[in-house]
Symmetry: C2
Amino acid sequence: MRLDFNNILANQIGREHGLSRSELNGFINQYSHIIKETDQERQNGKLPFLDLGYEDISCIEKIAKKQSRYFQDFVVLGIGGSALGTRTLHNALNPPFYNLLSSQQRKNHPRLFVLDNVDPEETAALFKLINPKKTLFNVISKSGETVETLAAFLSAIKILKKALGKDYKKNLIITTDPEKGFLRKFALTEGVVSFEVPDGVEGRDSVLSPVALLPAAFTGINIKGLLQGARAMDKRCTESTPQNNPAYMVALINFLLDTRKNKNIVVLMPYTNALKELCEWFKQLWAESLGKRYSLDGKEIFTGPTPLSSIGATDQHSLIQLYNEGPNNKLIIFIEIEKFLDSVKIPKLFKNEPNVDFLQGKSFNELMKAEKKGTEISLTQNHRPNYTIRLPYISEETMGGLIYFWELTTVYAGNLYNVDVFNQPGVEAGKKAAALLLGKR
Amino acid sequence: MRLDFNNILANQIGREHGLSRSELNGFINQYSHIIKETDQERQNGKLPFLDLGYEDISCIEKIAKKQSRYFQDFVVLGIGGSALGTRTLHNALNPPFYNLLSSQQRKNHPRLFVLDNVDPEETAALFKLINPKKTLFNVISKSGETVETLAAFLSAIKILKKALGKDYKKNLIITTDPEKGFLRKFALTEGVVSFEVPDGVEGRDSVLSPVALLPAAFTGINIKGLLQGARAMDKRCTESTPQNNPAYMVALINFLLDTRKNKNIVVLMPYTNALKELCEWFKQLWAESLGKRYSLDGKEIFTGPTPLSSIGATDQHSLIQLYNEGPNNKLIIFIEIEKFLDSVKIPKLFKNEPNVDFLQGKSFNELMKAEKKGTEISLTQNHRPNYTIRLPYISEETMGGLIYFWELTTVYAGNLYNVDVFNQPGVEAGKKAAALLLGKR
């Protein structure tokens, strides 16, 4: 992973919207104490998700290896952090159109469905689509008490029992708190196979725990590689100087552009369809962690950048008009893939056609690169700050690294914004109101 | 369709963030002249997309009826406005998991793929997945010169020619400008079946033209119903008083909350997965139409609300924390479906379990309603403006109406913001730079 911060600098986009090199260097020093403080928090056991890369995952690998061939379908019942990590890994690391491939093309791994809403039409359709006897349901909830997940869980038990009778438990795996909550109790009393979401690991930081590793392993993703990538990124961030710590630099630049230059909207824009779901995961991570009413010292601050996402090149034909010409209140973060794993060559079919002459003989890969560069140039000319994260390619290792990177970046950002990144009090009121409306006492 | 604007009023969310009833009434009168002006523009032939509901679409119906059973797959090659309308209709009106259903369940209609990026991995995977002999490619570009679409088109021709020789043209339909552009010329010289994007209809307003109606008809969507819905909405907006014209009211309220109350972010939040793609279409429509550097009188204004989307109930576990507790700079627009077309009942399986007692016996439909209401209550308590668009159900008629409604709303909004909603100059610089990088002379 390489970072290119040129286009946030004043010499590229002007003093009003960019930082001068010396200003930036000053800030790098001024705030670098948060790196040590974060490290201290980690030593004190307060950031256990940063150590997930060092866990023993052989149980997950073992059960996946043993069981995956016996199931046609793997259905995740989970919402928010219990779903977004799986979606991210699946989108990035399994082949496009995975569920449409033959069983052989999937190397006998099951199809994957993530049911992360209580949409009646979608749920009913899925229950008609699958054969319960051949379906493994993985019910995931950190608390074990998430309303939407429990609703889906009850409905799934019903169709499983109808199809399998007492044997229904064989088609169920529960991932939840080690001790507390309804799902843990159920797993214990009924003897259902279960995995633990380790203490202190919140939904949005649970990708590298059984929450997302189990579904990933069942679809054939090399989960060891994910952890390896996370460890390499850990090493890179821990052992480098502040200006070479990518997580610190990204957290700092996002913070500075928001608080000094009024860029309170952050757009994550990968140039690949394979990172669409990563964007959704990032939006949750960023919004839930940083969108806070109170500072750590109890002041009312109503803070938090608003994350959005766009996909290149597609959204050049959608939101780019606004990014280029609308209010200059956004920071664009490109993700560029240096080497795609497949290619499409544009054939030479026409002669003397100015509309296609320059395209013929090129590859889609070159086209993507040029499109990204073109958008970058136009944003920079319009004084819109933007920077680029370059991945050499998409693999288990680079994805593990990228996920770890964003998680650590978010912790740093929380320190800079001076907020508690681990709570979500703003969600409770709505939950309570909904439960009351449903008659909860 | 019904609208509920209560939660944008000061008596609900306070004077700082809401409008008083009398203020709102004043504004309704003050700006109502734009309704007549828009009507005048329409009489002058400047808004032809508002009349698409009255077009003769029998050719589209005929070709779809005749040919759809002969193709296993229908592939749209188009980007931006050439893709988003089809995605919207497909997501809303075809069954969930459509491409995974058997041919019989799809009533012998082809599977549908929308290739709206030049992603090498996705494109290569699709070309491996389909059988070219049994695939219809619908190449869509208003100008006939869109770089990404031409790249995909050339690649598709190659695989078609390899599979079919001279007969390859039978598997191709072109939708483009009636006269101009590379694709029109190709269709004429090669004798390929083609449809027209009518003059004056831009990509983002082309849903009810052959651009999206043709793919819709091939998958069995009742396109007559779509136009019927559009006409009914036209009638409702044209014949009512300003305060009963839903498009005027929504445009006005969005404009007022942006310009008077600093809500420069607009969140569209349907409580159904069936409108996910509608959100993407809305984001393009809103961002490209209103995100502008210059006003109609040539002043530099850098204006335009930033549209985002969330899906209920899913994103209650993601962005709602930020919406409730972050900066009060957003307007939330709920879309609520009164009657879902299928239902899931939560069975009664446990006794004396406070976590599930209140859920058991309820339906997913009730759960969705309660979740939406809960979120609405919490946002309102936190002084966050929000309003609700209620659809009785999702059908061809209501979708046609909803699309027409948003298109007209955008025209009104353009009048209020005083910008040209039909151009996209901010996209040109990036396009040119990319073409130069690819060696275009």
